[in-house]
């Protein structure tokens, strides 16, 4: 029920930050997240940062499916 997209903090001014989604920049609010600094990777929902985040390496989705099928068969 929630679209949230990761972005990197480019600059902070009071409780606002400019974030970069990857070629798309926007000003967002830090009103519900503390302890954020420039360069941090955060999750953005409805114009707010909701958590700090670790970068996700694209995983092999076919491998994940195979592993699931193996477990389901056991």
């Amino acid at each position: 029920m929630c679209l949230a997209v990761p972005a990197r903090i480019k600059s902070i001014h009071k409780d606002r930050a400019i974030v970069d989604f990857g070629g798309i920049k926007k000003e967002i609010s830090l009103g519900i997240l503390q302890g954020v600094k420039k360069g941090d990777y955060v999750l953005i929902h409805a114009g707010f940062a909701i958590t700090k985040m670790k970068r996700h390496k694209a995983k092999d989705v076919l491998k994940a499916l195979t592993e699931l099928k193996n477990v389901a068969k056991e």
Binding site: C2, D60, L65
Partner: protein, 341 residues
């Protein structure tokens, strides 16, 4: 109570975003036949009662009101029309990306009353709470919130405790859990014996989440696990929870499909009464009745599938939706219609 191997496993993906991700990525078709995925009530648009939409439409029709909302709500049919059709008739209804945009609109239009109509769960309600605090700091006099916000856990408990629904485990909403952390799921896991895995939204997250649920069922592990480790912490986001609690209080609320669930809705606290559109406008709308033939209520709880509905595809489609499950961008019926052919 070991799960026999190869027995049918019924897992509920609570969150509408998961429903859509599963449909769009083709996961459903790729799963082994003994794993059944059932869509849950985590679609805020779907569970908002008709009355909630009718109230928003009535307020939007008032002179000098600028109604702002997320795009998700625009096409939901009320009893007579929708916010989208109201906009077409010339009323000032605007789609915004963040509740903060509504504050800016209020500042730019001091002679108008700006109302933000919000639906959502724990991911979204703290953002609106923060906007209300900001409105208070800026002494805005022409901004208010029409809250249709809900908390997902009371509904999850109702489903977990249901004797006729037979859900074996829950794929839990990743972004709600960013805010709430994993603790609220413990009761559902331990007391109702339904393992919970908090999953992210990439296809590999969801597949991993399903795999972990199956493994827990095999080992009779009735607990909560975080698959979405890169974003979810056990304690959640304490700042967000604090801001939410400052502005909103839990109230009983009606869910389309589930009926009245105690302490499952959010209302602005007395201190923020001036920002509560319900108090400001006090509109009354008639009771609404379920539309004839629409079984959204049963679909939201996983009891029935869209294919079981007599209206599905014949009368009810995304172009002319009858019920909210079809109109919502995450509704189960919309997902089936768009991605299952």
């Amino acid at each position: 109570m070991s799960r026999k191997n190869k027995e049918q496993i019924r897992l509920m993906e609570v969150c509408g975003t998961h429903t859509m991700a599963i449909a769009r990525s083709g996961i459903k078709k790729a799963l082994p036949k003994n794993i059944e995925l059932i869509s849950g009530p985590g679609c805020p648009v779907c569970v908002t009662p008709q009355k909630g939409i009718d109230k928003a439409i009535k307020i939007a029709s008032i002179k000098n009101v600028i109604m702002t909302t997320f795009g998700d709500m625009m096409r939901v049919p009320g009893t007579n029309n929708s916010l989208h059709s109201l906009k077409g008739e010339g009323k000032d209804v605007r789609v915004i990306y963040s509740c903060l945009d509504a504050l800016n609109i209020a500042k730019d239009n001091p002679d108008k009353k700006v109302v933000f109509m919000g639906v959502g769960f724990e991911t979204t309600s703290p953002t609106v709470a923060a906007a209300v605090l900001e409105a208070e700091r800026e002494r805005l006099k022409n901004f208010s919130v029409l809250s249709n916000f809900k908390a997902i856990f009371p509904a999850l408990e109702a489903i977990a405790g249901s004797r006729h629904l037979k859900i074996d485990g829950f794929i839990c909403p990743g972004h709600v859990s960013v805010i709430t952390g994993s603790n609220p799921y413990k009761k559902i896991a331990k007391y109702y014996k339904k393992p919970c895995v908090i999953a992210g939204f990439e296809p590999d997250d969801i597949l991993k989440g399903i795999r972990r649920l199956i493994m827990k069922l095999r080992k009779d592990e009735y607990d909560v696990e975080i698959e979405y480790e890169r974003a979810v912490q056990t304690e959640g986001n304490p700042t967000a929870l604090r801001v939410l609690d400052t502005v909103f209080r839990p109230v009983d609320s009606i869910w389309r499909g589930l009926g009245l669930i105690q302490k499952s809705g959010l209302k602005l606290r007395k201190r923020y009464k001036v920002f509560d559109a319900e108090e400001k406008f006090k509109v009354k709308v008639p009771e609404s009745y379920p539309l004839k033939g629409c079984i959204c209520a049963k679909i939201l709880t996983g009891e029935k599938l869209p294919a079981d509905c007599k209206l599905f595809k014949k009368v009810c489609s995304p172009e002319s939706p009858i019920g909210p499950c079809m109109v919502s961008s995450e509704g189960t019926c919309a997902a089936y219609y768009r991605y299952e052919g």
